[in-house]
């Protein structure tokens, strides 16, 4: 089925003889794109549409910043919404083409040997908060943790001034190595092999007694607890308020505006693959747990992955609630100074690609 003359509401597409290269990058989170890559469906769909796929991290290290800043004109990105929102707010021309709300918001941890049993016990105590020294891109890690901590404090009736939030600055390179990798599994595998990575600074500070509590997402929280030294005193995922689960999620699928306008068929192809993968996850959650476990190997083990996958919808969408979730995240980032400029989420969202892909998938 040729898609060379695909017609979409806005523009008609000129058939191009050359193959269009599309770059993709995916965060280490639970999104269908990972399955689409792993199963070869993404590559197949793009090929059908006259495109070819390239993993961002197979390119030289100088290009990697585009994972956060989305500067490349032919890029797909699926993952944490904070960099995507930040890039848009900085004027980067991207389109929001899908959302996946597949996180539980995170947890607060404290040491087993502390006298702290609930968040309210943190009054007057120290909470560690990661801080990236370099400012070449948004500190999404800090943004996620800061939001989780402030929500937990609020739920416990504590004001920010009643605790001592201690910055844990990290300078130096984000990545242990500048070696290119061919796909996400290889990329994340290389990371988890490295001890003392910059994502360890919070748990190390907690264990060393420098702070009394930290934030972590479920995958890491579970792994940390397995050592027997830390325990959870708050679990945002166990609460009924869905906005508590806005934590660098809903995860955003964004695409460079140039690629979307010149080759909408490529964008539709990406989403076809993601939809197929999302549906497959929902009917094969056990097997999906196995695959995610191989790709995001630093996450908790298969038991936890299995139970996490039961909870979410994995077919990307632009539902009212998910869009509202992006709005909640954006407002938080603005209030806390992570963003300089506001923008309209509804102008950023472009549902026509998803609509088309759903018709065809």
């Amino acid at each position: 089925m040729s898609t060379a003359t695909l017609e979409l509401p806005r523009k008609t597409v000129k058939a191009k003889p050359a193959v269009t290269e599309a770059i993709y990058t995916i965060c280490p989170v639970l999104v269908a794109s990972h399955i689409a890559v792993h199963k070869g469906w993404l590559e197949a769909e793009l090929k059908r549409a006259g495109g070819s796929l390239k993993y961002l991290w197979s390119m030289p290290q100088a290009d990697w910043l585009s994972h956060f800043n989305h500067t490349l004109p032919n890029q797909f990105r699926d993952g944490g919404n904070i960099p995507a929102i930040h890039a848009r707010s900085e004027g980067q021309r991207t389109k929001l083409i899908g959302l996946t709300f597949s996180t539980d918001g995170g947890q607060i941890l404290t040491r087993v040997d502390s006298e702290i049993n609930k968040v309210a016990d943190l009054k007057g105590r120290k909470i560690g908060l990661y801080k990236r020294v370099s400012t070449d891109r948004v500190d999404f890690w800090r943004g996620t943790a800061e939001r989780g901590i402030l929500l937990a404090l609020d739920l416990a009736g504590l004001k920010r001034e009643e605790v001592n939030i201690v910055d844990l600055p990290v300078s130096g390179p984000d990545y242990p190595s500048a070696d290119p990798t061919r796909n996400p599994a290889e990329r994340f595998g290389a990371w988890s092999a490295q001890p003392g990575s910059h994502f360890q600074v919070e748990i190390e500070a907690l264990l060393a007694g420098k702070v009394d509590a930290i934030y972590a997402n479920r995958g890491r929280a579970h792994r940390f607890q397995a050592e027997g030294k830390v325990k959870l005193i708050e679990d945002l995922g166990s609460r009924p308020d869905w906005t508590l689960q806005v934590a660098n999620a809903p995860f955003t699928i964004t695409v460079s505006e140039k690629l979307a306008e010149e080759h909408p068929e490529i964008v539709v192809a990406y989403l076809r693959a993601a939809i197929k993968a999302g549906r497959w996850i929902e009917s094969h959650r056990d097997e999906a747990a196995d695959i995610f476990g191989q790709i995001i190997s630093h996450w908790a083990g298969k038991c936890v992955l299995r139970s996490e996958l039961q909870k979410y919808h994995f077919v990307p969408n632009l539902s009212p609630k998910n869009l509202a979730g992006v709005e909640v995240e954006k407002r938080f980032l603005l209030r806390q100074g992570y963003l300089r400029q506001d923008f309209e989420v509804k102008d950023w969202a472009a549902p026509q690609y998803l609509d088309q892909a759903l018709k065809e998938a």
């Binding site: 947890q107 609930k118 397995a226 027997g228 325990k231 038991c303």
Partner: protein, 365 residues
């Protein structure tokens, strides 16, 4: 290789099987792989491979297996179940090795009368908690220790101090008599209903001599079903895993001397448990039917829901060892156990390692 049994309690018929290593086993009515290994015949199977014969401790006549179940007072005994008696036996009575842990214990709940008007533990300020107290000095009062730990945790998360409530001791003779049984399922069927609905603490709650009691989840189901009681706190619902250390994680232990003389038998025990653990993890509904026979649970559906996320393959993980340490320290601090010891030195992972190696490549149905 083979050894004759050297205990005065040994039944005479054992001598006829002198070519096999005689080994006793005892398992609490809990959710662990050993129970399923027995029911599926895998314990016997693995023991046979190493020339050993498994004898259920409670097959001894005249209730002779009851106290040793707690005190580990036989020299060739595997005990698998609640950690409190196992910890006390190691600390004060018998030198054993800790060979596996299973974190499937219930964290426990706080139960009040339906008509009490209490909704939260914080409402129990100034009120009375009933706490079981065994008058039997021959064994550790594990029921009291579990309940005491649970009550203290429930108070801690609610913000109440121990001094803000009253703890009322409810004494019980605690001298049940059992008929000999050839395996656990036979034993526990002997007084099932008493276990689910009875108890001095439930009586006291009914009669308004106390306002609240501790209960583990399986018993709570029947209490609630009667309409007279309700659960106002459930330690299983909190994210904090240290709240759930009540008589758990479940401990598998064996006499040190026996383990040193017959390591192949210990490995065989663990092979059976690991096989059963994998089987349970993959067949939770079928496992629930088996667990119904060997635990005091309301029904298999409840069990299946409860065990949905547990890992039944025994391990000696860091987290489980710390939980055991927490239990031990609690028991010492509250006078249930006299002597301290190092949990990490007590644990011996070598048997688990060998058992896992043996099972590599073996298909697990």
């Amino acid at each position: 290789m083979s050894a004759l049994l050297e205990t005065t309690n040994a039944p005479a018929r054992v001598a006829a099987r002198a070519s096999l290593t005689e080994v006793y086993y005892t398992i609490c009515p809990v959710l662990n792989a050993a129970n399923v290994a027995v029911e599926l015949g895998w314990l016997d199977e693995e023991f046979k491979k190493v020339g050993a014969r498994a004898i259920y401790l409670r097959s001894l006549k005249d209730n002779a297996g009851w106290i040793p179940h707690y005190t580990h007072s036989l020299p060739n005994l595997f005990r698998d179940g609640g950690s409190i008696p196992t910890i006390q036996a190691k600390a004060d009575l018998t030198d054993t090795k800790l060979i596996g842990l299973t974190a499937t214990q219930s964290g426990g709940q706080i139960v009040v009368r339906t008509d009490s008007g209490f909704h939260r533990v914080a409402d129990l300020k100034g009120k009375r908690f009933g706490l079981f107290k065994s008058l039997n000095k021959e064994k550790i009062d594990f029921a009291r220790a579990s309940a005491e730990y649970g009550i203290i945790q429930a108070l801690a998360v609610s913000g109440l101090k121990r001094s803000e409530v009253e703890i009322v001791d409810l004494e019980e003779a605690d001298e049940p008599v059992f008929q000999p049984a050839s395996k656990p399922s036979e034993l526990w069927s002997q007084n099932a209903s008493r276990r689910l609905l009875g108890g001095k603490d439930v009586e006291a709650l009914k009669e308004r001599r106390v306002e609240a009691i501790y209960s583990h989840a399986a018993r709570s189901v029947s209490l609630v079903a009667s309409g007279e009681f309700k659960v106002i706190e459930d330690l299983n619902r909190y994210p904090d895993w240290t709240l759930r250390v009540a008589n758990g994680p479940l401990t598998a232990a064996v006499n040190t001397e026996f383990a040193e003389k017959h390591p192949e038998v210990v490995v065989a025990y663990l092979r059976a448990a690991i096989r059963a653990g994998h089987w349970i993890n993959a067949h939770r509904e079928a496992a629930a039917e088996i667990f119904q026979r060997v635990t005091f649970s309301p029904n298999p559906k409840w069990i299946a829901r409860t065990i949905a996320e547990f890992d039944f393959v025994p391990n000696l993980s860091a987290q489980n060892l710390v939980a055991t340490e927490i239990e031990k320290n609690f028991l010492i601090d509250h006078g249930y156990v006299k002597n301290d010891f190092d949990v990490r030195k007590w644990a011996d992972a070598s048997f688990l390692e060998t058992a896992h190696k043996d099972l590599v490549g073996v298909s697990r149905t």
